[in-house]
């Protein structure tokens, strides 16, 4: 936790020096396969990939490492990431990902890391054998019609496919177990597995449906499961860009989860700060706490600075990556709106200083906000002042009344005309029939 304060400055310098996307690392959201600890890592010159990767396990680790490799400019870090991915994969059985990683390494790490074809072939053969075995077992169970064993068989199948990276098949197997679930615990297990696989596949619609299914099971769920479910739901919503919903879901999770949620929550209303859970969790992430405090005490400049720093980290996180831009824009506009809200007139030069932009840029931003009707104000471009404007209710009402009257008039007349035409046509047809 020390060195926290000069972290921002050093970050800025290092970012420019190394041209690296991410320098300071903040842990991001978990998935249902891992539970992480919340520790901001103070880094030296480079992203500490080892430490980062140590936070995850399983498949997500591999995916994150690959993502890192794709998005880092520094080839040193890239190779590091790929090397770790390679090691991980060798421990597992996923040959397809393995091939991908090998391609990416492209022989840059030396002869040890080249395509290990024999190992691949061996793994594949073992896989086929195991698959045959599982199949025969499953058939046996099916002839016996023992529900429990059939369910277990499908489950095993699902696990097997998952280990090999055939996510679609894994999903299908898990879904098939649904027919054979007897207790709610089974259902929950099934749902969790399905959720896991769908998250990996990126099909968040499925995630939402299974989460709701899991929540509907009558038995009480224990906290870690609830946390996992909430987290999954949050992720799904994030993808669907429903930031508000996502924020709410994340909020309900216990304090064990990551700080990227705070980014999502920032666009939310003030009530967030009052949430006790949130406060607890904030204790664990001082940097973000600073940020939120600044936001609410209107120290926008420093707030936005922190945001800038965190941005680089968030870019590296798989899930948030796509949404960082939108979130940032939203946070910024929210800050602007909040700033102008209590005033009748605001000097734009002072405001530009507060937000660390030029007056012209500020004017443009304000203009777009006013057009979207989020700020009720008008800009005096000559004197560079923003005046709040309150719509005149009485005039507006009169205007609306007259307009409604006209529309009614027009609509009714047109309608009568049409009715007449229809009647005429109908009569014509009737007379023809007769």
């Amino acid at each position: 936790m020390d060195g926290e304060d000069d972290a921002p400055k050093s970050l800025m310098e290092e970012m420019y020096a190394n041209g690296i996307e991410g320098v300071d690392d903040a842990p991001s959201s978990s998935t249902s396969t891992t539970i992480r600890k919340n520790r901001p890592i103070i880094s030296g010159e480079q992203l500490d990939i080892e430490a980062y990767a140590a936070l995850y396990s399983g498949r997500t680790k591999i995916m994150r490492l690959i993502f890192l490799a794709d998005h880092c400019d520094n080839s040193g870090m890239q190779l590091e990431a790929l090397r770790m991915a390679y090691d991980e994969l060798k421990k597992g059985e996923n040959t397809q990902l393995f091939r991908e990683v090998v391609q990416k390494i492209d022989g840059r790490l030396g002869p040890n890391y080249s395509m290990d074809a024999t190992w691949c072939a061996m793994v594949d053969r073992k896989a086929d054998q195991r698959k045959d075995k599982l199949e025969s077992e499953l058939n046996a169970y099916r002839t016996n019609l023992i529900k429990e064993s059939i369910r277990m068989g499908y489950n095993d199948f699902g696990d097997f496919y998952y280990a090999h990276g055939a996510l679609g098949d894994a999903f299908k197997s898990y879904v098939r177990t649904r027919d054979y679930c007897t207790t709610s615990k089974h259902i929950i297990q099934m749902c969790l597995s399905a959720i896991l696989v769908s998250i990996e596949m990126g099909q968040f619609a499925h995630v939402t449906s299974y989460v709701s299914k899991a929540e509907q099971t009558p038995e009480a769920l224990d906290p870690p499961t609830i946390a996992k479910l909430r987290c999954a739901a949050g992720l799904a919503h994030l993808e669907a860009k429903k930031y508000k919903l996502a924020a709410r879901k994340f909020l309900e999770v216990g304090p064990e989860l990551g700080n990227s949620y705070s980014e999502v929550i920032a666009p939310q209303d003030n009530k967030v700060i009052d949430n006790i859970n949130f406060r607890n969790f904030l204790e664990l992430v001082p940097e973000v706490r600073e940020l939120i405090n600044d936001f609410y005490s209107s120290h926008y400049a420093s707030c936005l600075e922190y945001l800038g720093n965190l941005k680089s980290n968030l870019m590296l996180d798989i899930h948030i990556h796509d949404h960082v831009e939108t979130l940032y824009d939203q946070i910024r506009s929210k800050a602007l709106i909040q700033y102008t809200h209590p005033f009748v007139s605001v000097d734009m030069r002072m405001m530009a200083d507060a937000f660390k932009t030029s007056v012209a840029g500020l004017e443009k931003e304000l203009e777009s906000l006013i057009t979207d009707n989020q700020i009720q104000a008008r800009i005096d471009s000559h004197n560079k002042i923003l005046y709040a404007r309150h719509a005149d209710q009485r005039n507006a009402t009169f205007q609306r009344v007259l307009q409604t009257g006209n529309e009614f008039d027009w609509d009714v007349r047109a309608m009568l005309l049409r009715a007449n035409l229809l009647k005429h046509e109908y009569n014509l047809r009737a007379s023809r029939k007769i």
Partner: protein
């Protein structure tokens, strides 16, 4: 010969009282064919009849006379005769034979066009309409002819009075289409865009079983006018438009729809390039002028948007934002808009600043109160009319039959047939 003379005598004799006129009408109907057979020789007999007294007979004769092909010289004399007839005829007698009257008037229009003097036909046609109409809400077949003459002779104001009336009763749907289309064109010429929109909207949403060319042309103009007037074009036809229209109109007017789309993007350069590219199409539809108006209205739209966000703005800024070339042009535009009453602003030439003001209307003056009051009255009358039509419809036996067949049956009584007639 004898029959014709005898007919003339009868006309002269029986044209006084209403019952006589009815019997005369029967006679005339029977004699119609013989009249037509001798159409070439009827001309001199017309002098024996007085149009102001013997209107019905005169009408029959006139119709038979003009039945054949007409040369240009003859057209001149016919035009005079028919014009005189129209002005002096008796409305009630005419209304007994509306078809004949309409045919005569149509031929009149043709002859006037043959002579290439549509202006001569405008006034008589107006009189003809007034005499033929049973009420001011009635649309006759002559309305579109009249508007056509107005259009061709460019005297749009004459068409004004006809357009101002509300139309509720229609004889033939085709008349309505043409009427609204021509009316729309006249309104565009006079820059009454709201009225034009209404009329064109009526054409486009009228019930029709197949798409007709009038509706397609009307739709094209409709899109353009709504761009000019509202700044946006309707995305979809309202639900009450016929399904035929909804499906097909869009496909047939593709360049216009794309024009509307590029308009909504707000970039003047784009829209101008698009117009240049498709100039021929617009020209062949005779819509190029309208398209140009639409493009220029975009500047206005952009300036109006500025009034919403700015209190004062320099002319240079306006020019930049609206993509005009110089502050001078911006000043011209703003000046024009202030004159037209489209925005409220003051220009300070010393600083080169424009100050936008709020709409000064306070809704407190007497005129405003009168305006509101009259609107309320008008709407109440309209409402009553609507109720009246609704009641009429509910008593219609055909409607009852259809509604009765499809209603829900909850009770034993419901299974009886809907009473169609009371036979006491």
């Amino acid at each position: 010969m004898n029959t014709v003379e005898g007919l003339v005598n009868q006309i002269q004799g029986l044209s006084t009282t209403a019952s006589d006129v009815l019997s005369l009408q029967n006679l005339l109907k029977q004699a119609d064919d013989s009249l037509h057979a001798e159409s070439t020789r009827l001309f001199p007999f017309l002098d024996q009849l007085d149009p102001s007294k013997h209107s019905l007979g005169y009408l029959y004769f006139l119709e038979a006379c003009t039945a054949g092909p007409v040369t240009k010289e003859q057209a001149g004399s016919y035009v005079l005769m028919i014009a005189r007839f129209i002005t002096s005829c008796i409305a009630e007698q005419i209304r007994l034979a509306p078809d004949k009257f309409i045919t005569v008037c149509k031929r009149f229009k043709d002859q006037v066009l043959l002579l290439e003097e549509p202006l001569r036909g405008v006034a008589p046609m107006l009189t003809a309409i007034r005499k033929l109409q049973s009420s001011s809400e009635h649309l006759t077949a002559l309305h579109p002819e009249f508007l056509l003459l107005c259009l061709l002779s460019r005297c749009y104001k004459a068409g004004l009075s006809i357009l101002e009336e509300d139309v509720f009763e229609v004889d033939q749907p085709r008349d309505l289409f043409l009427f609204c289309y021509y009316g729309g064109m006249i309104s565009i010429g006079q820059k009454w865009f709201q009225k034009a929109l209404e009329l064109l909207h009526n054409v486009v949403t009228a019930p029709m079983s197949t798409v007709n060319a009038i509706a397609v042309e009307a739709f094209k103009k409709y899109i353009l006018v709504s761009l000019i007037h509202h700044g946006q074009s309707p995305a979809n036809l309202p639900k009450y438009a016929s399904s035929v229209a909804q499906r097909n109109l869009k496909n047939l007017c593709q360049p216009y729809i794309e024009l509307a789309n590029s308009y909504s993007n707000g970039k003047i350069a784009d829209i101008e390039t698009y117009v240049e590219a498709n100039k021929d199409k617009f020209e062949s539809d005779n819509n190029l002028g309208l398209v140009k108006q639409a493009v220029s209205s975009m500047y206005k739209r952009n300036i109006q948007r500025l009034t919403q966000t700015y209190l004062t703005l320099s002319l240079q800024d306006i020019a930049n934002r609206v993509q005009l070339n110089s502050p001078k042009e911006a000043e011209m535009h703003v000046l024009q808009m202030i004159k037209d009453g489209e925005i409220y602003a003051t220009i300070n030439q010393k600083d080169g600043m424009v100050r936008f003001l709020e709409d000064p209307e306070q809704y407190k003056t007497c005129e405003m109160i009168e305006h509101i009051d009259s609107s309320i009255q008008r709407l109440m009358t309209l409402s009553k009319k609507l109720n009246g039509v609704d009641e009429l419809m509910s008593c219609d036996p055909l409607y009852l039959l259809k509604a009765g067949r499809e209603r829900q049956r909850f009770d034993f009584d419901d299974f009886d047939n809907v009473p169609q007639r009371f036979n006491i």
